[in-house]
C-alpha cells in the first residue's frame, strides 16, 4: 500500500471526525505542555548553575578554595604557580553581596580576578573588557541585574557586604551578545585589587583556579593537597555544579514525579477524546479487513492517524509549554539561591523537547492503537470467549492491583528511598482497581436507591452498567482519579513538609526576642558574617537591652554537600530544637553542644561519613577541628543538611570572632517596640544591619521556605484544572452522543427533567468514584512521599493524614466537573422525542 494512499485515506476521513481529533490534539498538548514546562524548570535550575560555573571556570580543571569567608593569603598563588605540572594559575576572590540601587536590591556573587582569567576562563570572564574595567576601578554586571536595581553604566552602585555598605562604580553592563545565556546570572565581575578593597579582604583570595599541563592532573592535585595542608579544599574546577546537583536533588525528584503525573493526566485527557473516535475507527478496521487489508496495512493506516495527531499535539503542546514556562514557572526556588548563585535563565535542552515530543507520539500511538488491538489482529473474536476473557481479566486486574499495593507498602516500610517506584506502583494499583471500585459503587448505589422515589437513579444505574459505555466511563473516572491522586499525594507531602519547616522556623526563633543581622535577601539563613565590634558595644549599652549574645552561621562544603552551619550562643536555651533530633537524647545533646567539643549533624551527612552518636570526626573547617557527634538531626530544611555547634566552637574552627547576628533579650519591663527603636537609632540610618523581632524573623523563614514549594503548587493546580476540563468535556461529549437514545426514552414518556437528573446522577457517581478513589490512594501516596522526604532527604516533616487536602481536591474536582457536565446534559435532555434517530 502506497504512502500516498495512506495519506489520502487519512484526509478523506478527517472531515467526519475533525472535532474529536481537535479535542484529542488539545488533550495530548496539555500533557506535553505540562511535561515540557516542568522539565524546563528543572533543567533551568540545574543548568543555570552549571552554565555559570562553566562560564567562569572555562578550561581550568582544578581549584584550591577557602573554607571560610575570609579566604586565604594570596601569596599562596606563587607557590601554586611553581608546582610541577601547573600550566597556569588564576587568583579569584568571590564574595556574596547585596547590590542596592534606586529600584531594588539583588544578591550577586562579586568575582574579583586578574587578566589571566580573561584568557583562560570561560566566556563570562573572557568578554570582560578587563583592561577597561581595570583602568576605571569598576565592576561589570549583566544588564538585567543593572536594570532590576535601576543603575546604568558609569554610575555608582551600593554594595552591602556584611554589615558595611560600600560604593562601587558600575563600569559596564554585559549584554547577551557579550555573554550569551549567562546574561541572567547573578554575578558581578571586577579587577582583583578593586574587589579586594571593596570587600576589605586586601591580600586575600578565596580560590585559585589551576590549569595543569596535559596528563599532569594527578601530580598537580597531590601538590595542591600538600599546599592545602588540610585547611583548604582541593577540588575539580567545576565543583560548584556538583554541590548544587546534590542540593537540588529533592526538588528535581519532585519535579520528575509531577511531570509524570502531568503527562499522565494529559494523556488521559487525550484518551477520553480518542475514545470518541473509536467507533469510527473500529468500523474502518472491520471494513478494511473485509476488503483484504492485512493487519500490517491497517496498522499503517492507524499509525498515520497517530503520527498526525502526535505531531500536531507536539507543536501545540510545545507552544503552550513555552508560554507556561515563561509566564508561570520562570522563577528560581529562592531557598536554594541562599547558598548558590542561581540565575534566572531558561535553559531548554534538546532532551526536554525530545521527551515532550516522544511522550506525545507514544500517547497518540497508544490512544489510537490500544482500543483497537483486538480488531486489528482478531477482528471477529467470539463474543462468548470475549466474555470468558473479560472475567479472567477482572480477576487478574484485582490480584495485580493488590500486589502493587503490597509492593508500595513494602517500599514504605523498608525502602522509602524508592518512593518514586512506590508511587508508580500505587498508580498502577489505582488504575487496576478502579473498574472493580466503580462496579462496587454502582452496585451499592443500586441498593440504596431502591427505597427512593423517582426513576432517575435507576436510569443512571443502567447507563453506568452498560457495556458499551464502560471503556469511556473508566477513562473519565481514571482522569479524575489520577489528577486527585497527584494533587493529594504531592500537596499532602508538601503540606507535611511545610508544617515541619514552620515548626522549625518557630523553634529556631522562639527564645530570642530580637535579632540584629545584615539585611538582604541573600541572608535569610543568617550566614553572612560582619565586623561590627563598635556596634556590639553600643547595642549592649542600650537601656532596654537585657543581654546580647553572638550567633554565628555560614555554609561549609563538607564532602559533596554545601551544609548549613548553625552556631547559636552556648547560653541559648534551645541550642538544638528537640523536634529535629532523630537519634540521641535531645537534652543530653543540647548540653554537650553547649559545653563545647560536640556537634549535631543531619542524618544524610552522618550516613555519608558512617558516623553514629558519640563518634569522633574532623569537621573540615578553616581550622580543621575534631568534634564528637551529640545527635543526628533532620536537615533543618536545607536539602544538603546542617551542622549545629556552639558559637565559641565555631569561632575557633573558623578562626574568626565575627558574628552573623546578635540575639538580644529585653531587660525586664522593657517594651519590644521601644527597644527596637533604640536599636535602630543606635545602628544608624545608613547601617546595613537590621533589627527584627523573633516573630518577624520566623515569618521571613516561612516565606522563604514557601517560595521553594510554590512551583510544585502551581503544577499541582494546573493538573487539577486540566483534569476537570478533561472530565467535563469527555463526559459532556459522551452525553451528547447519547441524544438518539434520550430521544427514544422521551417517546417512552420520560420527561426532560427526569433525564437530566439521571445524567447528573450518572456524572456525579462516575466522577465522584474516580475522584474519591484518587483521594484515598492519594493519602497513601502522601504517607509514602512524606516518609521519603523525612527518611531519605532528612527534611523536618510533621506527619498528618491529609484528610482536608484530600477532601478539598475531591469536592473541587467533582463539583466543578459535574457543573460543567450539567450544561450539555441539560441541552441533551431537551432533545425532541423521536424513534430511530441516526447517531
Amino acid at each position: 500500500m502506497k504512502l500516498s494512499n495512506v495519506v489520502r485515506l487519512y484526509r478523506v476521513r478527517l472531515r467526519s471526525r475533525i472535532a474529536q481529533e481537535v479535542f484529542a490534539v488539545l488533550g495530548i498538548a496539555v500533557g506535553v505542555a505540562l511535561l515540557f514546562a516542568s522539565q524546563v524548570a528543572s533543567t533551568s535550575l540545574n543548568g543555570s548553575v552549571r552554565q555559570l560555573n562553566a562560564g567562569i571556570v572555562g578550561q581550568m580543571r582544578l581549584q584550591i578554595s577557602a573554607r571560610g569567608p575570609t579566604g586565604f593569603d594570596e601569596r599562596l598563588l606563587g607557590k601554586v604557580e611553581r608546582l610541577p605540572g601547573v600550566l597556569a594559575a588564576v587568583p579569584v576572590l568571590d564574595e556574596r553581596v547585596s547590590m542596592i540601587g534606586p529600584s531594588g536590591t539583588q544578591t550577586v556573587d562579586v568575582l574579583g580576578t586578574d587578566p589571566r582569567f580573561a584568557h583562560l576562563g570561560g566566556p563570562l570572564v573572557r568578554r570582560l573588557g578587563y583592561s577597561r574595567l581595570a583602568g576605571l576601578h569598576a565592576i561589570a554586571v549583566p544588564t538585567p541585574i543593572a536594570q532590576a536595581i535601576g543603575v546604568t553604566s558609569l554610575h555608582p552602585v551600593e554594595l552591602q557586604i556584611g554589615a558595611s555598605t560600600r560604593t562601587a562604580l558600575l563600569g559596564t553592563t554585559l549584554t547577551s551578545s557579550d555573554i550569551g545565556a549567562l546574561v541572567d546570572s547573578p554575578i558581578a565581575i571586577g579587577p582583583l585589587r578593586y574587589v579586594q578593597s571593596l570587600t576589605d579582604l586586601s591580600g586575600r583570595l578565596t580560590r585559585i583556579f589551576i590549569q595543569p599541563r596535559p596528563g599532569e592532573d594527578a601530580v598537580v592535585r597531590s601538590g595542591l593537597a600538600r599546599l592545602a595542608a588540610g585547611t583548604l579544599n582541593v577540588r575539580p574546577g567545576d565543583y560548584e555544579a556538583t554541590l548544587f546537583a546534590q542540593a537540588a536533588g529533592p526538588t528535581n525528584q519532585s519535579t520528575v514525579l509531577f511531570s509524570a503525573i502531568s503527562a499522565l493526566v494529559g494523556f488521559l485527557f487525550a484518551f477520553n477524546a480518542m475514545l470518541l473516535t473509536v467507533p469510527e475507527r473500529r468500523r474502518l478496521v472491520e471494513d478494511l479487513r473485509l476488503d483484504g487489508y492485512t493487519a500490517g496495512m491497517i496498522a499503517r493506516v492507524l499509525l498515520f492517524d497517530a503520527f498526525v495527531l502526535g505531531v500536531l499535539a507536539s507543536i501545540v503542546g510545545l507552544v503552550l509549554g513555552e508560554a507556561l514556562s515563561v509566564g508561570l514557572f520562570n522563577s528560581n526556588p529562592g531557598y536554594l539561591s541562599l547558598g548558590f548563585p542561581i540565575g534566572s535563565q531558561r535553559i531548554v535542552t534538546w532532551e526536554c523537547i525530545a521527551l515532550a515530543v516522544g511522550g506525545a507520539m507514544v500517547a497518540a500511538c497508544v490512544g489510537v492503537l490500544a482500543p483497537l488491538r483486538r480488531e486489528i489482529v482478531l477482528p471477529l473474536a467470539s463474543a462468548f470467549s470475549r466474555h470468558e476473557r473479560s472475567r479472567k481479566t477482572k480477576v487478574l486486574a484485582l490480584v495485580v492491583g493488590l500486589a502493587c499495593i503490597a509492593v508500595t507498602t513494602i517500599i514504605l516500610l523498608v525502602a522509602p528511598q524508592a518512593a518514586v517506584i512506590g508511587i508508580a506502583s500505587l498508580l498502577v494499583a489505582l488504575l487496576l482497581l478502579l473498574p472493580a471500585a466503580l462496579s462496587a459503587v454502582v452496585a451499592g448505589f443500586d441498593r440504596l436507591r431502591r427505597p427512593l422515589p423517582g426513576v432517575s437513579p435507576y436510569l443512571a444505574v443502567i447507563e453506568l452498567r452498560a457495556r458499551a459505555n464502560r471503556p469511556r466511563a473508566l477513562a473519565i473516572a481514571a482522569t479524575g482519579a489520577i489528577a486527585v491522586f497527584g494533587s493529594v499525594a504531592i500537596q499532602g507531602a508538601h503540606h507535611d513538609l511545610q508544617k515541619g519547616l514552620d515548626q522549625l522556623a518557630h523553634q529556631l526563633n522562639e527564645t530570642q526576642v530580637l535579632w540584629v543581622s545584615p539585611a538582604g535577601p541573600g541572608n535569610a539563613l543568617t550566614t553572612t558574617a560582619f565586623d561590627a565590634t563598635a556596634v556590639e558595644t553600643r547595642l549592649a549599652r542600650l537601656p532596654g537591652v537585657g543581654a546580647l549574645r553572638i550567633y554565628r552561621g555560614s555554609f561549609l562544603d563538607f564532602g559533596d554537600r554545601r551544609v548549613w552551619v548553625i552556631a547559636p550562643p552556648p547560653a541559648d536555651a534551645h541550642v538544638i530544637p528537640a523536634s529535629q533530633v532523630l537519634k540521641g537524647d535531645p537534652m543530653d545533646a543540647a548540653a554537650h553542644v553547649r559545653d563545647g567539643g560536640w556537634v549535631a549533624m543531619s542524618q544524610a551527612i552522618a550516613d555519608e561519613h558512617r558516623l553514629r552518636v558519640g563518634d569522633s570526626f574532623t569537621l573540615p573547617a578553616p581550622a580543621p577541628s575534631t568534634f564528637r557527634l551529640a545527635a543526628i538531626t533532620t536537615n533543618f530544611g536545607w536539602p544538603p543538611g546542617a551542622v549545629v555547634l556552639n558559637a565559641n566552637d565555631y569561632a575557633r574552627a573558623w578562626r574568626s570572632s565575627d558574628p552573623s547576628a546578635y540575639q538580644i533579650s529585653l531587660r525586664p519591663g522593657s517594651s519590644q517596640v521601644h527597644v527596637m527603636e533604640e536599636i535602630e537609632q543606635a545602628l544608624g540610618a545608613k547601617s546595613a544591619l537590621v533589627v527584627e523581632s523573633a516573630a518577624q524573623r520566623e515569618g521571613r523563614f516561612r516565606a522563604t521556605s514557601r517560595q521553594g514549594l510554590v512551583r510544585l503548587t502551581q503544577i499541582s493546580t494546573l493538573v487539577l484544572i486540566a483534569a476537570v476540563l478533561a472530565m467535563g468535556a469527555a463526559m459532556g461529549a459522551m452525553i451528547w452522543q447519547r441524544r438518539p437514545q434520550l430521544a427514544d426514552m422521551k417517546v417512552d414518556g420520560f420527561g426532560g427533567r427526569v433525564l437530566w437528573r439521571a445524567l447528573l446522577l450518572e456524572s456525579a457517581l462516575l466522577l465522584g468514584t474516580g475522584c474519591s478513589i484518587g483521594a484515598i490512594f492519594g493519602i497513601y501516596g502522601q504517607l509514602l512521599l512524606s516518609h521519603a522526604l523525612a527518611a531519605v532527604t532528612g527534611f523536618p516533616v510533621v506527619f498528618a493524614v491529609g484528610g482536608w487536602v484530600a477532601l478539598q481536591s475531591f469536592i473541587l474536582v467533582t463539583a466543578v466537573a459535574v457543573a460543567i457536565v450539567g450544561v450539555p446534559g441539560h441541552a441533551a435532555a431537551r432533545v425532541r422525542p423521536a424513534i430511530g434517530q441516526p447517531d
Binding site: K2, N5, E286, L290, D291, G292, L380, S382, A383, F384
Partner: protein, 235 residues
C-alpha cells in the same frame, strides 16, 4: 469454484452446551452463479460468510476455493485472498461518510500498489455502469441509501473478484431500491462472470438467485423460493 464440505463451527458457552452456529453445512457455488443463503437472524449466515472470507476458521470441515482450502491460509495469504479473489458487499452504513463516492469505491484498490489516481481511473467505468457517473464526487453522506449501496457494489467489484459475498445488501432499503440494487448486482456480476453468494433474510432478495439454500439453526434445510417475488429479469 467454491465448495463447503461438512463445515462445523461451535462456540463454547461457559459450562453449558456450546452454541452450534454452523452444524455440518455443505454447499457449492459455481463460476458465474448467483446462490442465495436465506435464513432468519441468528441462523448462522454471517458466521458462514466469515468462514468463506477466511476471517474465521471452522472447527471441522473445509472451505475450498478453486481447489485451495482457505481455512488453512496464513493471515497474510488470507488477506491477499480477500483482496484479489473476493468482493464483499455489506450494508452501506459502512461507507466513509466524508469521503467521495469515487474514494469509497477505490478503497479496496488503494490497498494494492496502485496510486489513488490509477485506482480512480479503474473504478470510474464501474461507477458509470452503476448509474453513479454524475455523483462520483459527492460525499458518502450526500448520497441516497440506494446510491450508497451501489458504491459498495463498485468497491466489491473493483478488483475483479471471482466471488462476491453479499451480506444483507438491501437490509436498509425500501422495495424499490431493493429491486434496483439487486438488479444491478446480478447484471454486473454476470457481465464480469463473478459468482455471487447472497446472504439475506428477505425472501424477495432470495428470489433473484439461481439457487437458494435455507439455513436454520446452523443447518441447511429444504426451501423453495417464491419466484413471483422476483422481477421478470431474474432467473
Amino acid at each position: 469454484m467454491l465448495v463447503l464440505r461438512d463445515v462445523i463451527k461451535h462456540y463454547p458457552l461457559g459450562d453449558g452446551e456450546p452454541v452450534r452456529a454452523i452444524d455440518g453445512v455443505s454447499l457449492s457455488v459455481g463460476a458465474g452463479e448467483l446462490v442465495a443463503l436465506y435464513g432468519p437472524s441468528g441462523s448462522g449466515k454471517t458466521t458462514l460468510l466469515m468462514m468463506i472470507a477466511a476471517l474465521l476458521r471452522p472447527d471441522s470441515g473445509a472451505v475450498i476455493m478453486d481447489g485451495r482450502n482457505v481455512s488453512e491460509l496464513s493471515e497474510r495469504d488470507a488477506a491477499r485472498y480477500r483482496l484479489s479473489e473476493l468482493g464483499f458487499v455489506r450494508q452501506s452504513l459502512n461507507l466513509l461518510a466524508s469521503a467521495s463516492a469515487i474514494d469509497n469505491a477505490a478503497l479496496k484498490l488503494m490497498g494494492t500498489d496502485l496510486r489513488a489516481g490509477e485506482a480512480h481511473r479503474r473504478v470510474m467505468p464501474l461507477l458509470h455502469r452503476l448509474g453513479l457517473g454524475a455523483r462520483v464526487n459527492h460525499r458518502g453522506e450526500q448520497l441516497s441509501m440506494g446510491e450508497r449501496q451501489r458504491v459498495m457494489i463498485a468497491r466489491a467489484l473493483s478488483t475483479e473478484p471471482k466471488l462476491v459475498l453479499a451480506d444483507e445488501p438491501t437490509g436498509s432499503l425500501d422495495s424499490g431500491r431493493t429491486r434496483e440494487v439487486l438488479g444491478l448486482l446480478t447484471e454486473v456480476c454476470r457481465e464480469r462472470r463473478a459468482a455471487v453468494l447472497l446472504v439475506t433474510h428477505d425472501p424477495r432478495a432470495a428470489a433473484y438467485a439461481d439457487r437458494v439454500h435455507a439455513l436454520q439453526d446452523g443447518r441447511l434445510v429444504e426451501y423453495e423460493p417464491d419466484r413471483a417475488l422476483a422481477p421478470a429479469s431474474a432467473p
